[in-house]
């Protein structure tokens, strides 16, 4: 690709670094990863596709990844990579924005796909809640981009891969101090990995009614998902279960939407599903336009009936 030589990658999670290393290989000639983690991680990152690692040491006690901003900025300033790819966690978005601001540019955010043009990298991202896809490019000398999980697939680990690990003595610090850290409570669910999902929306009238949805999901070997109002409006289901532009985006084999109207912000999360089934009492609900099979009826009759049929 024209002029796209040095690709740098940075993320606060190892899996994300490995995916970005794989992505970096498709975009440039040389992949350099910035690692703030145990040294064994640096070695794994080489095995996962990096040619070079700047190892900033293991994260110092009581420090935040954010505290390494100045060290990372200095490296970028002196080494001048062509592209810096970051993950899409809140920490990475903060890092991307601060780097971009210092460099006098903007970052390409939440990139779903890159393509090469004569003028550099072109990136696609969703805008307007998923109603449209925007293709944009950066006119800056250095392109900064954040790339979500799953856009690139990590390479199989190859312990024979050669690469250099350079130790960087990085001072960590900032005006912000962390006084406490606590894990988020709640179940952990990896909805994105589910092959089948039964998703419920505001058509469900009471929290107790989720029982029959659980039974249905159990019979189908499916995970339970939901629309945002059920996770953010009423807290009936954990946030990790809501599907859509601001929640989980995935490609299951089967998606059954129950009492979900099918607003674009929800559907972009699942409209790549192989088969879409909708159950809704309103024939005009937008979800039917995007479904393979639809039941125009009351979910309180349809779900028990479906459970009976599946039990047979």
């Amino acid at each position: 690709m024209a002029g796209m030589k040095n690709i740098w990658v940075f993320a606060d999670k190892k899996d994300a670094i490995l995916e970005l290393c794989a992505g970096g290989r498709t975009l440039g000639d040389k992949v350099t990863a910035l690692v703030i983690a145990p040294r064994t991680d640096a070695e794994q990152v080489i095995a996962g596709g990096a040619d070079q690692v700047y190892w900033l040491g293991d994260k110092q006690d009581g420090k935040l990844i954010e505290d390494y901003f100045a060290a990372i900025f200095d490296l970028i300033q002196t080494q001048k990579p062509d592209v810096v790819l970051l993950g899409t966690t809140k920490r990475c978005k903060l890092m991307a924005g601060r780097l971009a601001a210092r460099l006098g540019t903007s970052a390409l955010m939440d990139v779903m796909e890159f393509s090469a043009t004569d003028n550099g990298l072109q990136a696609k991202r969703m805008v307007y809640g998923g109603a449209a896809v925007r293709t944009e490019s950066s006119a800056a000398d250095l392109t900064i981009a954040t790339v979500g999980p799953g856009v690139f697939e990590k390479l199989p680990e190859d312990s024979g891969r050669q690469g250099t690990i350079e130790d960087v003595a990085a001072a960590a610090g900032s005006a912000i101090t962390c006084v406490e850290k606590r894990p988020k409570v709640g179940e952990s669910v990896n909805l994105a990995a589910a092959k089948r999902v039964v998703a419920v929306g505001r058509g469900i009238a009471n929290k107790e009614d989720l029982k029959m949805i659980e039974e249905l999901a159990g019979l189908l070997g499916a995970e339970i998902g939901c629309s945002r109002p059920l996770a953010e409006g009423v807290d009936w289901l954990p946030r990790e279960r809501y599907i859509g532009v601001s929640g989980v985006m995935f490609k299951p084999d089967l998606y059954i939407g129950i009492g979900i109207s099918g607003q674009i912000q929800h559907m972009v999360g699942c409209n790549q599903a192989k088969t879409i089934v909708a159950i809704n009492k309103d024939k005009a609900a937008p979800i039917f336009q995007q479904a393979d099979y639809g039941i125009v009826g009351d979910l309180y009759k349809a779900i028990p009936a479906l459970i009976e049929v599946l039990k047979k």
């Binding site: 924005g97 971009a100 903007s106 955010m109 307007y128 809640g129 101090t177 894990p183």
Partner: protein, 255 residues
């Protein structure tokens, strides 16, 4: 404490018309205040109510900002005054251009202790303007904040990340982006809407600000509605056992 809350006006998504060539038509769209930015304004109100001080609203955008309903809309939620930088040259501004404009405005307003932004705009949601603004001002900056209190002249904030919550102490002046969890924005009363019309509004153009060379580096190549996957769209009406049986038979072939 002098607080500034930033907001963006965005087109109403329900009014979007998609043309047959998949381009977007916003001509009939109403403009509204970004949903997440209302939480920043509310957070600013609550802080100034509990700790004393003032709240100012600030926005940079196109001439749409001059719409009096939108100006009243923001002022009716509590800020004592409003500053707008309304210039059509800001149409399609990227995060850096917007943040640079806001930074110049914050400096011109002067003596600001805290700038609050919504986590992202409800149209583009890049989650970058607050972060860039903090960096450009040279203030400590943090995103994803779901709770703010003031303690000994510093902020104590909770930051909700993907799998953990951090409690951070942040000296002032600072820039903070807040999530929608932080509060439920108040609904203005008729009295507040009427009073909003009397609050001072200062309007600046880009030429009034110190903005040498702060343009947009991002080039928009296209914005298109996604191609819809072809779906079978087989509809069964009713919810009787027979109907469900038919659905099941169809489904079984797929599973």
């Amino acid at each position: 404490m002098k607080i500034v809350a930033c907001y963006k006006i965005v087109p109403e998504e329900q009014d979007l018309i998609i043309r047959p060539d998949r381009t977007l038509n916003w001509e009939r769209a109403e403009w509204k205040i970004g949903q997440y930015d209302l939480c920043a304004v509310e957070a600013g109100m609550q802080l100034s109510e509990t700790n004393g001080g003032s709240l100012t609203a600030l926005s940079a955008g196109t001439k749409q900002l001059e719409n009096s309903k939108l100006k009243k809309g923001i002022l009716s939620r509590g800020p004592q005054d409003l500053f707008i930088i309304a210039d059509d040259a800001l149409d399609n501004a990227d995060a850096f251009q917007t943040a640079s404009t806001l930074a110049a405005a914050v400096n011109k307003i002067g003596d600001v202790d805290l700038v609050l932004c919504g986590e992202g705009s409800s149209d583009l949601y890049t989650q970058q303007v607050g972060v860039q603004l903090g960096e450009l001002l040279g203030y400590p900056v943090i995103n994803a904040v779901s709770k703010i209190t003031v303690q000994d002249g510093k902020l104590l904030v909770e930051r909700t990340l993907e799998d953990e919550v951090e409690v951070l102490q942040i000296p002032l002046p600072a820039v903070i982006s807040v999530t929608t969890d932080i509060n439920l924005p108040r609904i203005p009363s008729m009295k507040e809407i009427l009073a909003a019309g009397k609050k001072p509004v200062t309007q600046w153009g880009l030429a009034d600000l110190d903005l040498a060379g702060k343009g947009s580096a991002t080039k928009i190549d296209s914005t298109l509605a996604p191609e819809q996957a072809d779906r079978k769209r087989i509809l069964f009406e009713g919810d009787s056992e027979e109907v469900i049986q038919k659905l099941y038979e169809n489904l079984r072939k797929e599973l």
